[in-house]
């Protein structure tokens, strides 16, 4: 147990030492903008993390860049464009609507539509089947013939 606790402590100590610079702003609005920007922008190296979560050196550099661009009174749009110009659309967790991303933006709606069409189709079909079908005169004769033969 003691060994285990030491291990846990060591893990936490290493994580702590990896913690990076925290940027603070006097202006509260700017702080909020910074927080939302580093959440919206994706780290180009460690691909499934945003700039806020990642400990990689490039994420730290890009956080610094966001901080400095905010200090230069750049708008959110300008900062996002700055990143896109250098790292491509890839850095956006909410990619822009373009011919390349139509399938991303409209795919789910189209799939839902297809689903609705299928459901309607199936329901209609089964509704039709529920109505008992009448036998034709020839079929009735044949049925009687079969029953008689038994």
């Amino acid at each position: 147990m003691k060994r285990f606790l030491t291990f846990v402590a060591m893990v936490f100590i290493t994580f702590n030492s990896a913690a990076s610079i925290v940027y603070t702003f006097d202006d509260e609005v700017m702080q909020l903008r910074y927080n939302s920007l580093v959440k919206e922008l994706r780290c180009p190296k460690c691909q499934n993390q945003n700039l806020a979560d990642s400990n990689s050196p490039i994420a730290a550099d890009l956080r610094r860049e966001v901080y400095e661009l905010l200090k230069q009174n750049k708008s959110d749009g300008e900062i996002v464009n700055f990143m896109v110009q250098r790292y491509g659309e890839f850095v956006l967790y909410r990619p822009k609507v373009s011919s390349l991303t139509y399938i991303l933006w409209f795919g789910p709606a189209i799939l839902l539509l297809i689903g609705v069409v299928i459901v309607v189709f199936v329901l209609k079909n089964s509704a039709n089947k529920k109505q008992p079908k009448q036998l034709s005169a020839a079929q009735k004769d044949k049925l009687e013939q079969i029953l008689k033969d038994k």
Binding site: P44, K45, P57, I58, E65, Q85, R86, G88
Partner: protein, 183 residues
Amino acid sequence: MNKIIRFIPLVLFIALGAILYRGLSLNPQEIPSALVDKKLPSFQLPQLLKPEVMLTEKDLKGDIVLLNVWGTWCVYCKYEHPYLVDIAKSGRVSLYGLNYKDIRADAKQWLIDYENPYILSIFDEQGRFGIELGVTAAPETFVIDAKGIIRMKHVGPIDTKVWQDKFLPLIETLEKENQGERS
């Protein structure tokens, strides 16, 4: 009609399978660079070996320029180093280095310990020019044509296979372009 409908799930399954199978062989680390076909961004940074010399984009001279992003902290840079030496010796390209987020003394020592394949190295301590180039880590290599346009970006180390598959075709194209322009 009903018979066709029965096959729809199978067709959808095969289509989905094909898409997912393709996904297995894609490398998620390979992000299309936003800078290809754009001009090399301008910069003003000191030279690695001569801190007093300031370099700009105009100092990267050559018909075909290779700009290799490297650092002594980068394991794969060591792996690709002998290949870079060979490439530099071939004389087909002008190889420049971008020493990225490094310590100057370490980088100098590296070039002494191994061999210096670069015509010169730019010293980008803060990684600012790296951000301009969309660099995510080292090693990365840019191919720049005679007009200063970035034609390709390669992420990861160069070895014989990468050189032959990815670089040589482009270099042959560029050599033809350059010849066409001269004649």
